[in-house]
């Protein structure tokens, strides 16, 4: 990898266990500013667990223990004086299945900034977030409609807008397209290119093509271990590890 910048987020020897069974084993990797980092690997390899550890969403799962360090701009995300709420303000998340609040489209986007008193005109903020998420034109005339009336792809873009309205530095995406059709998927991939100008994105995906299309860096996990991490081009065209090659070319095992 030819990146000499300091990383924005850095995992150092991270091991995460559920009731003593390690799901992520001694993973160290760096995530760089305004780049898209993809995490790929077979089901159950610990991708999502690793992703959730980056904004402390694992705090909500019982019996999770974590070792190692995760640094954000050189400060420990899990430090004793760090409030997890503050972490999630700066590091937003989009989930695997669209999970809008059962409220109006407007309230879905406006709720986060309102409760955190982010200031400014809330209408401007909602409009900006919806425009960034490429949803504005479809919903501008019905902001008071229930978000549940939107299609799956629109709901997922609404969830992205909800995360963007917080103006985080990092957006974590956990297989954001797995519940979507190819057209919606393409729209969200286009969106990610746009968002890269201003945001750092980490995306977990099952879809090889998606990882190779959108990401700058790719990490390959297998059974909780980081097998290979590097420039996406290299990981997909000249992998250093045999297992990576087998996985990205579709020859498993």
């Amino acid at each position: 990898m030819k990146n000499n910048e300091p990383p924005l987020l850095e995992a150092r020897g991270v091991t995460i266990s559920y009731s003593g069974n390690p799901a992520v084993k001694d993973v160290s990797l760096s995530i760089y500013e305004k780049k898209i980092t993809a995490i790929i690997g077979p089901s159950g390899c610990g991708k999502s667990t690793l992703l959730r550890s980056l904004n402390r969403m694992n705090d909500f799962i019982d019996n999770v223990t974590q070792e190692g360090q995760i640094l954000y701009r050189d400060s420990d995300l899990y430090g004793a004086n760090v409030d997890p709420v503050e972490v999630r303000l700066r590091i937003g998340m989009v989930f695997q299945r669209p999970n809008p609040f059962p409220k109006s489209i407007f309230k879905n986007v406006a709720w986060g900034p309102t409760i955190n008193r982010l200031g400014g005109d809330i209408n401007v903020r909602v409009e900006r977030a919806l425009k960034q998420a490429a949803l504005w034109n479809e919903v501008k005339d019905r902001l008071d409609d229930s978000a549940l009336n939107l299609s799956g792809g629109q709901q997922q873009r609404l969830c992205i807008a909800r995360a963007l309205a917080m103006e985080p530095e990092v957006i974590l995406m956990d297989e954001p397209c797995s519940a979507l059709d190819p057209v919606s998927t393409a729209r969200i991939e286009d969106l990610m290119f746009e968002l890269k100008q201003n945001y750092t994105i980490v995306i977990v995906t099952h879809n090889m093509q998606q990882a190779s299309r959108v990401s700058d860096y790719t990490a390959f996990l297998e059974s909780g271990k980081l097998i290979e991490y590097g420039d996406t081009d290299e990981v997909f065209t000249r992998p250093k590890q045999k297992r990576t090659e087998d996985y990205v070319t579709g020859r498993f095992g």
Binding site: N55, F60, D62, R88, G92, F101, W111, G112, M166
Partner: protein, 297 residues
């Protein structure tokens, strides 16, 4: 399927033996469900008819606005009706906040420890304790120990004890039914635990919580045993003006009338039952209204 196998397959429209039997079982089950439901509804209908036939002639303003009397034609349910309304209101004021907050604590905040499990199991057990036992408890603690005497407050607190397990259990169910994806989404935009509960968990669970509360209060309205236990009076010629006043309640008045030998008083009891039913149904209607308002937003 190979072409030669096709000859063994019956043509469409020729139902096989086993399929006919399966449809028959299905039809028998449906008929059983319908007849049992109709049976239950018929019994209920007969009961209501009986009560209405006996009680309706007695039901007038005089009945609603008179105190009990030795003479059937002068007797009324005024004190019992007011007593019941007092008891239900104060019971709701006590048990709604306590029950809902306990449910939120147990579902959302309590650590998944052995102690939490023991508490939950015991709340479920309490829901099955006979109401007379709560009456004895109320008599010992509220009436005697706390010195509340035979007051509305003592009655309402005893009723609250009785229905709290039901409120807690049904509220817990309603809170648990809120999808965890909604909670996670709220946490992911930097909400605190209270903000998640206040803005998302409670509104989504509210219809279920209200249903449980109304069912529980309906039970409180009909309960007689604990009130008799703590010493609610059967002859009250005044209406309670505060929570420390003595009182009687509709079921007690009805019970009292049915245990008299004269037939007129039995008909008065029927009229009292109609009043009790009206109070109960209006409460249910109110709950439906609140639910409807809640889900429309």
């Amino acid at each position: 399927m190979a072409a030669k196998d096709l000859e063994k397959v019956p043509m469409l429209g020729q139902r096989s033996q086993s399929l006919r039997r399966r449809h028959l079982t299905s039809a028998v089950f449906k008929a059983a469900c319908i007849s049992l439901t109709m049976g239950a509804v018929t019994v209920l209908g007969l009961l209501i008819y009986q009560v209405a036939a006996d009680g309706l002639p007695w039901l007038d303003m005089q009945f609603l606005s008179s105190f009990p009397s030795r003479f059937a034609e002068k007797a009324g349910v005024k004190s019992a009706l007011y007593g019941t309304l007092w008891i239900v209101s104060i019971t709701a004021l006590i048990s709604l906040p306590v029950g809902v907050l306990a449910a939120i604590y147990l579902e959302d905040y309590a650590p998944p420890s052995r102690l939490t499990r023991i508490i939950e199991i015991n709340i479920a057990n309490l829901a099955g304790v006979p109401s007379i036992v709560y009456g004895i408890l109320g008599l010992a603690i509220f009436v005697r120990f706390m010195g509340l005497e035979r007051s509305v407050l003592a009655g309402a607190m005893t009723m609250s004890l009785l229905i709290l397990p039901v409120i807690i259990i049904s509220s817990k169910e309603a809170i648990r039914a809120v999808p965890s994806s909604i909670r996670l989404a709220a946490f992911a935009v930097g909400a605190t635990h209270w903000q998640v509960v206040r803005a998302h968990v409670l509104p989504a669970a509210l219809p279920g919580i209200l249903t449980g509360v109304i069912l529980a209060l309906s039970r409180a309205i009909g309960e007689t045993a604990p009130l008799i236990m703590i010493g609610a009076l059967t002859y009250v010629a005044f209406i309670p003006e505060g929570p420390m006043d003595e009182f009687t309640a509709l079921p007690i008045q009805i019970f009292n009338w049915t245990s008299r030998p004269q037939a007129e008083f039995h008909e008065l009891a029927a009229a009292g039952i109609i009043v009790l039913l009206v109070v109960l149904l209006s409460m249910n209607a109110l709950a439906v209204l609140i639910r409807y308002q809640g889900t429309r937003k």
